[in-house]
Amino acid sequence: MLASSPSKTLRLIVVQPEQRVAEALAMVVSHDPAIHIVETVNDVDDARLGANHADLILLDGDELGSALERAIATCERAAPLARVCVLSIRSRADDLRRALAARADAYIVKDFTPVAFCAILRSVASGYYYADPRIAGAMLRRRSMRSAVTGELSGRENEIVRLIAAGLSNRDIGARLSLSEKTVKNHVSHIFTKLKISARSHVAVYAIRSGLVS
């Protein structure tokens, strides 16, 4: 559920070079009297970006294209307290990842309703992050399916990794965990497959890098 703080008026700066789109955004935002557009500028290099104590800055990811990262960095420098929302027509995981990696606080696909859009802005202004749930959901599902097939180790496998890293043989691990040597061997085989490694020494390296052992 999205959080909101309707009592506070949010100060929004819209960065939009196309006037008719800027006017459309103003019309949509006008549905929420708690959101006030304090400035509309053509680009992030406009000095007004840092002069208006904005809570939120709205960037058009489609207009910015390859300049998105630089634009977000410029917003951070000019208005460090403002949160940056990226609008886009694109529903691809790569575009979402790119925006978040560039430190955007929200990635919003442009097919919203006015009510949903205003709720997202309020939520982001109050400290939450927002990623379009259709893209984020698909990413999480893919990740879950991947880890189910090859990915992350189970609790038992992590336990065995720790013991391999401590230098124990399969027989010793079996004795420690009350498992047969053959069962331990199966677990080790799965661990090798999941981690895409071929030697016990690699397991120790993985254990250290992943923080399983210090």
Binding site: A24, V28, H31, I89, R90, F112, P114
Partner: protein
């Protein structure tokens, strides 16, 4: 500066119309506006749109699957340089604003006659070319 819209130039037009009964009217109105309809589909097929390389795309935003604004986003992603026209029976200003944000260049009312439809299409094509956003 981008050249003004030339009524003699060929305008390859892609129509997305889930209601097949509207298709003959759209084809006639677009023909009157001097546009060549190169493809008609009932929904957004991004791959087909990209392959068609249309100069203009007409989208019936009232009936398309997943809603008009979503369709417009997909069309704009598939044809970034095309002039996109949203065909709608809605006169709701908020819906119009959302369609504009989602990528349409203009909305055409379903109540428009063929002449008015054609005039809106021509005006929009010319405006998009003036701003240098269309493929020249």
């Amino acid at each position: 500066m981008a050249p003004a819209y030339d009524e003699r130039s060929v305008v390859r037009t892609y129509v997305i119309e889930p209601q097949t009964t509207f298709v003959p009217f759209l084809e006639r109105a677009l023909g009157e506006a001097g546009l060549d309809v190169v493809a008609v589909s009932a929904g957004v097929d991004s791959e087909r749109i990209a392959l068609a390389k249309p100069d203009a795309v007409v989208v019936d935003v009232d009936f398309v699957e997943k809603g008009g604004p979503n369709a417009l986003c997909q069309v704009r992603a598939a044809a970034p340089h095309a002039t996109i026209l949203a065909y709608t029976a809605s006169d709701d200003a908020a819906f119009s604003a959302i369609c504009t944000i989602a990528g349409t260049d203009a909305l055409i009312a379903k109540s428009s006659g063929a002449g008015e439809f054609a005039a809106t299409v021509r005006r929009t094509l010319a405006a998009r070319r003036r701003t240098g956003r269309s493929r020249e």
